[in-house]
């Protein structure tokens, strides 16, 4: 059995106050897997953005709806699944926050930050089950910081 393999699940109701619980778990897992403080912070930040979107855009703040998050670490590879009970969306329609027409917008940077801090960010839409966000990161490479974008 691989001592490094880890699986944690957390399910929350759609309240912004609960975002932090999921973020804390992300940071904890990264630290346990040997990522440095900064690297762990940025993974936590990506998770915060993903859960915030699930609560706000997916579940539209309906506290009867839940956000399901799983964390898996295997051979220093972290996979995070965040699923909501919303209607889904078309990722191709998401505007580029770096475009001059968007730069002064007050929103639209969440997915961009996730992509900045994680190696892979993908959305899928299992029928009738809302949005499923998968983010992956190799915790063994030292690239946690924002700088190397």
């Amino acid at each position: 059995m691989n001592p490094e393999s880890e699986h944690i699940e957390i399910t929350i109701t759609s309240r912004f106050e609960n975002i932090e619980l999921v973020q804390v778990i992300a940071e904890h897992i990264c630290e346990c897997a040997g990522l440095d403080d900064d690297g762990s912070h940025w993974v936590g930040m990506a998770v915060r953005e993903g859960v915030a979107n699930a609560i706000k855009h997916g579940n539209r703040l309906d506290t009867r709806k839940r956000v399901f998050t799983t964390f898996d670490v295997k051979e220093s590879r972290l996979a995070i699944h965040i699923r909501d009970e919303g209607e889904g969306f078309d990722p191709a329609q998401v505007a580029d926050p770096l475009s001059p027409i968007n730069i002064m917008k007050t929103s639209g940077r969440g997915i961009f930050y996730m992509k900045t801090f994680m190696d892979e960010v993908d959305f899928s839409f299992p029928d009738g089950r809302g949005t499923e966000l998968v983010m992956r990161k190799n915790l063994a490479t030292r690239d946690g910081a924002a700088e190397q974008d």
């Binding site: 915030a52 770096l98 007050t106 930050y113 700088e147």
Partner: protein
């Protein structure tokens, strides 16, 4: 988020402490800036040294604050930006939008 405010030479210095995140600090920041505008305080220096966490909503609110103040003919500048906030402004190419200071006296003088 907690805030304290001081007025130095007509410049409103707002110290933001804690989290500027979705559903809490972001809304407070918007209200705070709206209050300054209605009080006629158009020159604002945001002291960010006490900000522990900021997310994309907080960053968006900073941008919104900048726009609100600028549209009123005022100016909004940033003081003591924590490294992680700088990083977030940098990757979204917002760092050049804001005037950022490390020295309060110089920051205040810069409004002259």
């Amino acid at each position: 988020m907690k805030t304290t405010s001081r007025n130095v030479d007509g410049i409103e210095i707002l110290s933001l402490q804690g989290k500027i995140t979705i559903g809490s600090g972001d809304v407070q920041l918007r209200d705070l800036i709206a209050q300054c505008m209605s009080d006629g305080k158009n020159n604002i220096l945001l002291d960010m040294s006490g900000v522990s966490t900021i997310d994309s909503s907080g960053i968006g609110e900073l941008v919104g604050s900048f726009t609100t103040v600028t549209n009123r003919g005022g100016r909004l500048k940033l003081l003591h930006l924590p490294g992680k906030v700088t990083d977030l402004l940098q990757v979204t190419q917002l760092i050049t939008v804001f005037e950022v200071h490390d020295d309060e006296a110089k920051a205040v003088a810069s409004f002259k």
